[in-house]
């Protein structure tokens, strides 16, 4: 029985890989051809792999559902938390002024803990150390809201992973994971995102996989979610057992992805299919 199950699952996914939707492919090629040519390193945001309606959904703050969470974050910024009874603005003042460009520099090294932190980790560290509040669990609405609000303060700025030698081992680990075959499908991230962007997995166009817009409003989730959640979805998608929630592999991948997308514009909060 255990031998048949992988075959069945593999067949379904092979079906999706070989399924040819000619009209769909033609329309997609036409849409991609209509994009302006760029004389650069060839890196493209996931935004450019979406059709005009979804691009408009991201670009128009009046339509972008993620703005619900951003508004939430703006309120949370001035809501006291923890036994210290302080809110973020007590130390940081107005976020548009003090937090401009900050999200673009994560993951970053945290000397106090002797390790790297992504932005949600940094928010939680602040809560624990300066507000005497409990850390928020992953994908908690408040954590997503604050991440989205702070990410917005870097929107349009280039991703700027710190030039910090202490981050090098983590980035190297992340790059190795990016190239490592995983799961029953035996695919590495690079097989889809480096070697086959613009091609299709089932009906979906494969993007290059640059993490420029997190946390994102993902249509598949019908809600906002973190990069960690998205990576976990991909690992499960290749039928691999995902690493534990606190495993270092996730942050390693995030650190590598930040380096891989260095210089690309922050899009937070992005919309993705």
């Amino acid at each position: 029985m255990t031998r048949c199950l992988p075959v069945a699952r593999a067949l379904v996914l092979v079906l999706r890989l070989v399924q040819v939707q000619v009209l769909v492919s033609v329309l997609t090629l036409a849409a991609l051809a209509a994009l302006p040519a760029r004389a650069d390193d060839g890196r493209r945001s996931g935004l450019q792999f979406m059709g005009p309606a979804l691009q408009a959904l991201q670009r128009d703050d009046g339509q972008n559902p993620a703005m619900l969470w951003v508004q939430d974050g703006e309120q949370l910024w001035r809501t006291p938390a923890g036994t210290a009874g302080r809110h973020c603005a007590d130390c940081h003042g107005d976020a548009p002024r003090s937090m401009a460009g900050v999200a673009a520099r994560y993951p970053a090294w945290d000397a106090a803990s002797g390790g790297a932190l992504n932005l949600p980790g940094r928010i939680n560290a602040c809560r624990q150390r300066h507000q005497q509040a409990a850390a928020l669990p992953a994908e908690h609405a408040d954590l997503l809201a604050l991440s989205a609000y702070l990410g917005l303060q870097s929107r349009g700025q280039p991703l700027a992973p710190p030039d910090d030698v202490r981050l090098a081992p983590l980035r190297q680990q992340g790059e190795a994971l990016w190239q490592q075959r995983l799961g029953q499908l035996n695919l590495a991230c690079l097989h889809c995102h480096d070697q086959r962007p613009g091609q299709r997995l089932g009906g979906a166009v494969i993007p290059q996989g640059h993490a420029t817009g997190y946390p994102i409003y993902r249509l598949e989730w019908q809600g906002l979610g973190s990069l960690h959640r998205r990576l976990r979805g991909c690992v499960v998608g290749v039928r691999a057992e995902p690493w534990g929630t606190e495993a270092p592999e996730w942050l390693a991948l995030e650190a590598w992805l930040a380096q891989r997308a260095a210089g690309m514009a922050v899009e937070t909060p992005a919309v993705r299919p």
């Binding site: 009046g62 339509q63 559902p65 994908e139 609405a141 989730w221 019908q222 809600g223």
Partner: protein, 113 residues
């Protein structure tokens, strides 16, 4: 799909700044709501019961300007766009209601330029 927790901000309203006396302008509203269509199953095979918003009304000084009856085919975090012509200052009300006694109403005083 409804696993992501809803934010505490219930509604966004865009376009109030664009109101001009006697001239129609577009308003867009977004409500935080999962719009569970009643067809999903949870991890135990039980149907997740329907939980959708079914009605939206925009009133100017109590008079109905625009209304929508929503069904399960409306996407999560429902978004509606409509036009409104206000001839002078007044009070706009935005009210959503739906399954399980859901009701959310906010008002805005407007002074069209």
């Amino acid at each position: 799909m409804a696993d992501t927790p809803a934010p505490r901000v219930r509604m966004l309203i865009h376009g109030l700044d664009g109101l001009r006396r006697g001239q129609p302008a577009e308003l867009r509203v977004t409500l935080a709501h999962p719009m569970d269509n009643g067809l999903r199953h949870d991890g135990f095979g039980n149907v997740v019961p329907r939980n959708i918003v079914t009605r939206f009304e925009c009133r100017l000084d109590g008079d109905l300007v625009f209304a929508a009856d929503l069904y399960s085919a409306i996407a999560a975090n429902p978004y509606l766009g409509f036009w409104l012509r206000a001839d002078g200052p007044g009070t706009l009300s935005f009210e959503w209601s739906g399954d399980w006694g859901f009701n959310h109403r906010e008002t805005r005083a407007i002074v069209p330029a």
